[in-house]
């Protein structure tokens, strides 16, 4: 069975239908009702790189649906340090589990794992490549906030060069006719090949260094962390980092329904004063990781989510 490696593995129709499944699964994700759809199924969590939210939300998603999880554990003590190839690791875990969630430092690792495996692979991030389960939870959050994915103006701000979440998300948003504004320091611009690719697909893309000057047009502002270690000069870092710090006072003239998202962890790019505004969505977004992954686990395991789920308000 095929897994989810990049967003290209899903049609727009698939995306809509998975998001609808996720919506119905909300009471299960909140623990208001128990629905053991995945009883007897085992998820293999293979995280070759540190992860908090992605790994925990996969685990929570599986357990909320009555399934079980086995973990690779610390890479430093696993067979990987003994020089085992990814191919061999996958062969082993493939035999133990029904589905695998994987994060790996090398790009292309998820596609490689899928080619080696019989069970579906869920790509939880491969190098600076793709992170489609994050994209699904981002899309879910956007749809929850605006009731649609179509035709929105979305600003992606911060580190657009190395941030895999913004790469996957941009591709997905363009498929729904969204207008994209990329706000980043010059050093951390969206890679040219991605911008070209998006434009070839007919995308309306603007590149700028100015976040606050464009913020009033936005329906969604997607912030990312600017990593200090990417800059050789601390002064250079201080100069650009300051331009991407959102404070509640910056939001006075924004659209009232505009939402601010962030894949987290944040450092100081969103001031805590924003947390209490109607615009903040990042903590809901983090919670949505569970429900989006529940819907994906069901889809890839071929388990239908019932049309009616009791016990909640979904």
């Amino acid at each position: 069975m095929e897994g989810l490696i990049t967003m290209d593995d899903l049609t727009n129709e698939d995306i809509h239908s998975i998001l609808a499944d996720a919506e119905r699964l909300l009471p299960v994700a909140r623990g208001e009702t128990y629905l053991p759809l995945l009883q007897g199924k085992i998820l293999g969590n293979l995280f070759f790189e540190p992860s908090t939210r992605t790994r925990m939300s996969f685990e929570t998603a599986m357990k909320r649906l009555g399934g079980d999880v086995v973990n690779l554990g610390d890479v430093k003590t696993s067979s990987v340090v003994k020089g085992e190839t990814l191919f061999d690791t996958i062969q082993m875990v493939d035999g133990y589990t029904d589905i695998i969630a994987m994060r790996h430092p090398r790009q292309g690792a998820a596609r490689y794992a899928q080619d080696a495996a019989r069970v579906p692979i869920l790509n939880g991030g491969d190098g600076a490549g793709h992170h489609p389960t994050q994209t699904m939870l981002d899309l879910f959050t956007i749809q929850q906030s605006h009731g649609t994915l179509e035709g929105l103006t979305v600003i992606l701000a911060g580190d657009l060069r190395y941030g895999r979440t913004v790469h996957s998300l941009s591709h997905a948003l363009v498929r729904f006719g969204c207008r994209l504004i990329f706000a980043s320091p010059d050093l951390l611009r969206m890679p040219t090949e991605i911008v070209e690719d998006l434009r070839e697909h007919g995308a309306d893309v603007t590149e700028t260094e100015d976040l606050l000057g464009n913020i009033n047009q936005a329906d969604v502002v997607y912030m990312t962390r600017i990593q200090k270690e990417r800059f050789a000069d601390e002064d250079e870092y201080a100069k650009v980092a300051g331009a991407y710090k959102l404070h509640a006072r910056d939001l006075d003239n924004t659209k009232s329904e505009m939402v601010i998202m962030h894949p987290l962890p944040r450092v100081d790019e969103i001031h805590p004063s924003v947390d209490k505004t109607r615009h903040a969505r990042y903590f809901e977004q983090a919670f949505n990781g569970v429900v989006a992954r529940m819907a994906l686990l069901c889809r890839l395991l071929g388990i239908e989510v019932p049309a009616e789920i009791g016990g909640g308000d979904a």
């Binding site: 790009q107 596609r111 491969d126």
Partner: protein
């Protein structure tokens, strides 16, 4: 000048391979690709920038006492996808072969991206690059999806 005249610019070979319709100026790259540019014991003749009805101008290579195999044809497809190959035995054309780039090249060249999973040479799955564009040739790694052109790839031939 006729095509026949082109072929006579160098002596007819008794046994070996004639690679015709190489894009003009690419013959040296083809030699490199087929490991014929360095220390080799077989005689190689080269004609460059000769007139061609089909291509305007072209290069031709004649390799004596060596018949190209499928693996070499796959490599050749990267530089000269429209070239025609004649296997010569006893001064006559014994076989005509076509080079075909196809949609994907498998185990011909290795992805150049330093962080691609295929950089671990012990990983056993095949090196796969999909043809994303033909003019100029751009291949995209099946795994990491990084686009790359021939100038980068030529150093990563398997």
């Amino acid at each position: 000048m006729s095509e026949e005249h082109n072929m006579r610019r160098v002596t007819a070979i008794k046994n070996g391979t004639v690679i015709d319709h190489i894009p003009s100026g690419q013959a040296l790259k083809v030699l490199e690709l087929l490991n014929l540019s360095g220390d080799t014991s077989v005689p190689v003749s080269l004609v460059m920038n000769v007139p061609s009805k089909k291509m305007g101008a072209k290069d031709i290579i004649k390799v004596e006492d060596r018949e190209l195999n499928q693996f070499e044809l796959d490599r050749l497809a990267l530089v000269a996808p429209d070239s025609s190959i004649a296997i010569i035995r006893a001064y006559s054309v014994a076989e005509k072969l076509n080079v075909n780039l196809g949609e994907e090249v498998r185990n011909v060249v290795r992805c150049t991206f330093s962080n691609c999973i295929t950089q671990n040479l012990r990983e056993p799955l095949p090196h796969r690059l999909r043809v994303a564009k033909t003019d100029p040739l751009t291949l995209r790694c099946h795994y990491c999806q990084r686009p790359q052109d021939l100038d980068e790839l030529i150093h990563n031939l398997l």
